[in-house]
């Protein structure tokens, strides 16, 4: 077939299709967030705000003024960041060992990680709910951080192990020959080389924690620890029979913004991490 015009047209059409596919629902929720609440209550079908139904930034101001909502964003940022840092530290140690050392139990760690990656999250909700209430972790930050850590570890370990295998390890040996201990060689030589991989693992971990819903609604009961996805889903507004769609849309846009910024800034690293962890890893 070669590069026939037909094929070129096909690729251009395909590319356009991908863009529409990815961006249409995002454009829609942004559009909805600018519709006035009255126009939504009265029913305003259509993609863009109708004549007189444009609300400007009103919904965003209202969402941001909502105490419950602000608190949830704060919880999400704090919990996700702490879980990410802890998970990446622990995963880095493990991935280094897996990529670099021969030891008993390597297979055990890999298969445990694999099993956890497949674990149905909901099946842990019951026992964790029971356990957390017994030891006082229910409705606290650590009560979410610990499950987030264990569920992001598999992805982080694989991604990092894949990166670590590509590092020229002779440099570590050279450092050891020069008198450095294994630990020093690891810290001074390998850590700087591994930093980009660690960063990628951190982004993916953060995504998971930010996106989590099941733990967020099951292991919290108040604003003390409830993260933003859970808070959005429980947000009812003044009329319990009519969810404030445009207000929710504004909240949803605010909640998505941090992720979109990260995606735009680091798309290359994210693609590398996702595919190396799953296909090459």
């Amino acid at each position: 077939m070669g590069n026939t015009p037909l094929r070129k047209v096909g690729i251009v059409l395909g590319a356009a299709l991908i863009l529409v596919w990815c961006l249409l629902p995002v454009a829609w929720i942004i559009s909805l967030s600018f519709k006035s609440q009255e126009s939504v209550t009265n029913g305003s079908p259509g993609f863009f705000p109708s004549e007189g139904g444009f609300a400007g930034w009103d919904n965003y101001v209202a969402a941001w003024d909502n105490e419950q909502f602000r608190r949830a964003i704060f919880n999400s940022i704090g919990i996700s960041l702490i879980a990410t840092v802890l998970s990446v530290i622990v995963a880095t140690l493990a991935a280094y060992a897996i990529a670099r050392l021969e030891f008993k139990g390597k297979k055990l760690v890999l298969s445990t990680a694999l099993a956890i990656a497949m674990f149905p999250v909901v099946s842990l909700v019951g026992p964790l709910f029971d356990m957390w209430r017994a030891i006082g972790l229910y409705d606290t930050w650590p009560g979410l951080i610990i499950p987030y850590m264990s569920f992001t570890l598999p992805l982080a370990i694989w991604t990092l192990a894949a990166f670590f295998r590509e590092i020229p390890w002779e440099m570590e040996q050279a450092a050891q020959v020069d008198g450095a201990t294994s630990w020093q060689a690891f810290r001074k030589v390998i850590v700087p080389l591994a930093a980009p991989g660690v960063f990628t693992a951190a982004i993916l971990t953060f995504f998971f924690a930010w996106n989590d819903f099941v733990f967020g609604i099951s292991l919290t009961s108040t604003e003390a620890a409830r993260p933003i996805p859970a808070s959005l889903s429980f947000f009812v507004g003044s009329d319990p029979f009519n969810r404030p769609a445009s207000l929710l849309a504004a909240g949803a846009v605010i909640a998505t913004l941090p992720i979109i910024v990260i995606v735009l800034a680091f798309q290359r690293k994210i693609v590398a991490g996702l595919t190396s962890g799953a296909v090459k890893g």
């Binding site: 690729i11 395909g14 590319a15 991908i18 863009l19 990815c22 629902p25 995002v26 829609w28 929720i29 909805l32 305003s44 079908p45 259509g46 140690l93 060992a97 050392l101 021969e102 055990l108 760690v109 298969s111 694999l114 956890i116 149905p120 909901v122 099946s123 842990l124 909700v125 019951g126 026992p127 709910f129 610990i146 570890l153 370990i157 294994s182 995504f207 996106n211 819903f213 099941v214 609604i217 099951s218 996805p229 859970a230 959005l232 889903s233 929710l248 949803a252 909640a255 992720i259 979109i260 995606v263 735009l264 798309q267 290359r268 994210i270 693609v271 595919t275 799953a278 296909v279 090459k280």
Partner: protein, 319 residues
């Protein structure tokens, strides 16, 4: 001289370094073994603490009649909870809904994702823009994508009814089981197809261009190249993609919670489990459902791995 020095040096070096390695082996390997275990221990402990330990507890709890609303009535009932669950049509309905969603979404994700991957593999212009936008659905919170699609399908505020010529403008998608499941599947497919296409793209990139060229020279048509050369060589990547997406789809929960709240028979097994434990405080019954959910996932994973006859650990460990 110069040509002879390089070759013997290389030959001479090999046995020497091997010998040195063997001599230090016992000492070094013991230290290495110890260090390896130490480095891996924290990860293993965290992972097991939140999964293996609670799962064992679930197994134990599932054998008792235990509801938080009446904690004093806790008693050992053996397999009673499992019998109740497995003989309840409600359980089988949620199972059917879940498997249905899994099969439909994974099928469409695979087909659409593969088309996307082919386009991304060949596209020359605007690569950055396409790669960035394909990550946006992946980054959007599932709850938010659920909301976006729920409002899009809404008969009062959405645009779907207005855009689809064969649907009446006031059609309520969430009033009946199949339309509601359709909307749920659409939101799931939208969100996760990009992930699928990225995995498939990585698989495509690993198929050697030489082989494709050779097939072309031998006169193979586009279809023949696709079925005989490209797809067989992507088997591992396709299997990993299907496996991960299928297990993910089987756990479906977020979209259903947001879009229908389980109404009009759209409950999944995950949803039923959540409702038993968190809303009705039936820890015993909920634990039995948790165990059944876990077993289903194991069966699906085993089935897919067997179906593709690929050793997953090997596929993941090798470059």
């Amino acid at each position: 001289m110069s040509s002879t020095t390089t070759a013997p040096a290389g030959v001479a070096k090999t046995p020497k370094s091997k010998k040195a390695g063997a001599g230090a082996a016992s000492d070094r390997s013991v230290a290495e073994n110890r260090l390896g275990m130490k480095l891996v221990a924290p990860a293993l402990v965290v992972m097991l603490f939140v999964t293996a330990f609670p799962m064992l507890q679930a197994l134990w709890l599932s054998l008792s009649n235990y509801a938080l609303t009446a904690p004093d009535d806790r008693s050992f009932v053996g397999a009673q909870n499992y019998v109740t669950a497995l003989s309840d049509p409600l359980f089988w309905r949620t199972m059917l809904v879940t498997v249905g969603i899994m099969v439909v979404t994974v099928f469409f994700e695979l087909v659409i994702g593969f088309v996307f991957a082919l386009v991304m593999h060949r596209v020359i212009f605007a690569r950055g823009i396409i790669r960035t936008s394909i990550l946006i659905p992946y980054g959007v919170i599932t709850v938010v994508s659920g909301f976006a699609w729920q409002f899009a399908f809404s008969s009062t505020n959405g645009f779907v009814n207005a855009w689809l010529p064969f649907v009446e403008d006031n059609f309520n998608w969430f009033g009946e089981q199949f339309p509601a499941l359709f909307a749920i599947c659409v939101s799931e497919i939208w969100k996760t197809t990009p992930f699928m296409s990225l995995l498939l793209l990585a698989g495509l990139a690993q198929v050697s261009e030489d082989m494709i060229e050779a097939a072309k020279v031998d006169g193979a048509t586009w279809w023949q190249r696709m079925w005989k050369v490209i797809l067989p060589n992507m088997r591992a990547a396709i299997m990993v993609a299907i496996l991960f997406r299928a297990l993910d789809a089987f756990r479906i929960f977020d979209n259903i919670f947001v879009m229908t709240g389980g109404a009009v028979n759209t409950e999944s097994v995950s949803f039923l489990t959540y409702r038993q434990v968190i809303e009705q405080f039936q820890i015993g019954m909920g634990s039995a459902l948790s165990v059944l959910l876990f077993l289903s996932v194991l069966v699906i994973a085993f089935g897919i791995v067997k179906l593709f006859r690929v050793d997953l650990a090997a596929a993941r460990q090798e470059g």
